[in-house]
């Protein structure tokens, strides 16, 4: 594995105990320029993780707590009238940062969630008639409560599609919990130091481009994508009635990039089917729109993805 990545993981482990899945997901997002949606109950070190990542990279970090009365201008900024010289000036919102934590994104209605659409895709923000570019790297890590909770709004499909991966965070193991408890009580968490500069991060991102992916694996990715749209074509007739919409073209790009990043994080110079298998659930699960029948039967997207991976032969 790359020495810098090992250093980065070591620094993060000073502040975050366990949660390898979330850390791995964040690193994949950071290296492949994608955004991460994290679903989990409160108290699973989501804020701590991204804060630690910002410190370890020496990047600017901002957090927005999404609430039902939040307005788009609270996020992107607004034009402010100056009565002294009768002019308008731009007040930039918290979007202007490198690492953005959109905490409990589904507590705000869709109009506010949609304020992130432009910046997530185009890496730019338009306030009034002026457009501003966002500095690279730019990563949005949004957290959401499970939809079953009260007072939450489901994210629109267009918004969900802009997240490279959706990671479901689970509780720590008992051993990890014990360590958290001891360190938390004694306040003995070590301070996270900067171990990677922006230039070094850009170098790592460039290295990702040199990771080889075989044509057969590219074809395998396309087959996985197609199987979500037309399961019957791959002998998965029983899945057809459970899927309303398959994944979008963004999913194929993100799966391709995420598989490369995963291979890179594993210290390989080429992608294997297992790299795709490691990330396919995270890339697909928020993009598959389940049918009413599937929801009524209690089938979730992960089960459908598992079935597809199990059925399609690997190269």
């Amino acid at each position: 594995m790359n020495e810098k990545i090992i250093q980065l993981k070591r620094e993060l482990s000073k502040a975050v105990i366990g949660q390898e899945t979330m850390i791995e997901g964040l690193l994949i997002g950071l290296l492949s320029d994608g955004h991460i949606l994290i679903e989990g109950v409160p108290g699973l070190a989501k804020t701590t993780t991204i804060n630690a990542l910002a410190k370890a990279l020496g990047l600017d970090f901002k957090r927005i707590q999404f609430t039902p009365d939040l307005l788009p201008s609270d996020i992107i900024g607004a034009q402010i009238y100056n009565p002294q010289d009768h002019s308008f000036s731009i007040k930039k919102g918290p979007l202007f940062t490198n690492l953005l934590l959109a905490d409990e994104i589904n507590r705000a209605p869709a109009k506010v969630q949609s304020a992130l659409l432009e910046v997530m895709q185009e890496r730019q923000v338009t306030i009034a008639d002026e457009t501003f570019k966002i500095d690279s790297p730019f990563l949005v890590m949004a957290t959401q409560n499970p939809i079953e909770q009260e007072g939450v709004y489901a994210l629109p499909e267009a918004q969900l599609d802009r997240f490279m991966m959706k990671i479901v965070v689970k509780h720590n193991s008992e051993e990890e919990e014990l360590e958290i408890m001891r360190k938390g009580a004694s306040k003995s968490f070590e301070e996270v130091k900067k171990v990677l500069s922006i230039e070094e991060l850009h170098t790592l991102q460039n290295e990702l481009g040199s990771i080889h992916i075989d044509k057969e694996l590219e074809h395998y990715i396309i087959q996985l994508i197609s199987a979500t749209r037309d399961p019957a074509k791959f002998g998965l007739e029983n899945l057809s009635q459970n899927i309303m919409f398959g994944v979008s073209p963004r999913a194929s790009i993100d799966l391709y990039k995420a598989a490369k990043a995963k291979a890179f994080l594993r210290g390989n110079t080429f992608v294997t089917p297992a790299d795709i298998g490691y990330v396919v659930h995270d890339v697909f699960r928020h993009r598959i729109v389940l049918s009413y029948e599937a929801r009524a039967k209690g089938i979730n997207a992960d089960e459908i993805i598992s079935k597809i991976v199990e059925t399609l032969p690997i190269p």
Binding site: P273, Y278, H281, V309, I314
Partner: protein, 379 residues
């Protein structure tokens, strides 16, 4: 002096004209008879006709209530052509007192404008405004009726016929004998307080009469049914009943009669009805307690077995092989096993995946059976 008188006369004529024209309408009363008999139907019609066509005119008219007469409005026809209101009212009146009676009226003239009418109908249902009118109470002179008295002892007024029905004429002591009297015809509604005379040697049970009436310009057509029942210990006679009626149309009196009827009542031996045994044995065995107990037991057993069946179901599930284990066992080569492990979103198999990858893509040699065995042990 003559000049002055002439001026006063001209002024009076001019003033009268103004007063008349200020009414803005004409009215015309008509009574079909002036000297009816007591409780004989009288038809009153009133025609109101707008004469001032420059205004929008509306009316509120009704007869004033009085103890001297009863009335019913039976028809109203209104011609609502533009600025030319014409209303035709028809009333049915029954004088309740003989001698001279006065029919008094309440008339309200309501003047409004076209704009006000248009506004009252505009807007949605939440925005309807009341019609703004200028109301003037018009005093109409009362009409007189000279009401003639009826022949003595007359009970019903009109043209009626009486029918009666006994369900049976033979009964046991105290058994009720249903009896129904029906009076129908046209005239003043035949409602009688006491159809049968009091102090008869039987007990009378009676319900409120069932009345059906329909008013029209021909008078009132009515049908009144008196449901009753008679009961007695001994045989008895229902004496003839005679009701004197008067038909004002033919001005002739007539009688409605229920003829004498004998009822035969048979005695019942009261002694057989009295139970003389203390604590008599039940006529049949009472098994209801046992059947209740049995039903409780059945319900309990059903609930108990249902609970057990859930437990059996769980046991069966637990006994069933883990499908994932079965799938692992069915894998014949490294590729199929790797594919299976990839389909599970779990980092638990990361080491196994790496071993299989090395075997497949890195030419490393592995013991496939051992890998499978380790996997099964992990599960």
């Amino acid at each position: 002096m003559k000049r002055n008188l002439g001026k006063i006369l001209k002024l009076f004529i001019a003033l009268s004209f103004v007063l008349l024209s200020a009414e803005d309408f004409t009215y015309d009363f008509h009574l079909d008879k002036q000297d009816p008999y007591l409780k004989e139907p009288v038809i009153l019609t009133l025609d109101l006709k707008q004469t001032n066509h420059n205004i929008v005119l509306l009316f509120n008219f009704d007869l004033r209530k009085s103890d001297d007469y009863l009335f019913q409005r039976i028809d109203t026809k209104e011609t609502d052509s533009h600025h030319n209101t014409q209303i035709h009212y028809v009333y049915l009146i029954y004088p309740l007192k003989s001698g001279e009676i006065k029919l008094s009226f309440d008339l309200m003239k309501k003047v409004t404008t076209d704009d006000s009418v248009a506004y009252s109908f505009s807007g949605d249902r939440d925005n309807i405004k009341g019609l703004v009118t200028t109301d003037t109470k018009i005093t109409l002179p009362p009409l007189s009726l000279k009401v003639k008295e009826l022949p003595r002892n007359t009970t019903l007024i009109g043209d009626f016929k009486l029918t009666h029905k006994f369900k049976k004429t033979k009964a046991e002591a105290y058994e009720p004998i249903p009896f129904e009297v029906k009076i129908e015809g046209s005239g003043y509604p035949p409602l009688l307080e006491n159809l049968l005379p009091k102090n008869m040697d039987f007990t009378l049970f009676q319900e409120n009469p069932i009345v059906k009436s329909r008013h029209s310009t021909q008078g009132t057509k009515s049908s009144v049914i008196y449901p009753m029942a008679l009961s007695s210990e001994n045989s008895f006679d229902l004496n003839p009943i005679t009701i004197k009626a008067f038909n004002p149309k033919s001005m002739k009196s007539y009688t409605l009669t229920i003829p004498k009827q004998h009822f035969t009542i048979s005695k019942v031996d009261v002694n057989t009805l009295v139970d003389k045994t203390d604590h008599p044995k039940p006529l049949r065995s009472d098994w209801s307690g046992f059947s209740s107990l049995l039903s409780y037991l059945v319900i309990f057993a059903a609930g108990y077995l249902t609970a057990l069946s859930v437990k059996w179901g769980k046991k069966t599930l637990a006994q069933t092989e883990d499908p994932f284990k079965e799938k692992i066992e069915n894998c014949n080569d490294e590729r199929s096993l790797l594919q299976l492990l990839m389909s599970i979103d779990s980092k638990k198999f990361a080491t196994d995946i790496e071993i299989l990858e090395n075997a497949l893509y890195g030419n490393a040699k592995i013991n496939f059976k051992k890998v499978k065995q380790e996997l099964l042990e992990k599960l």
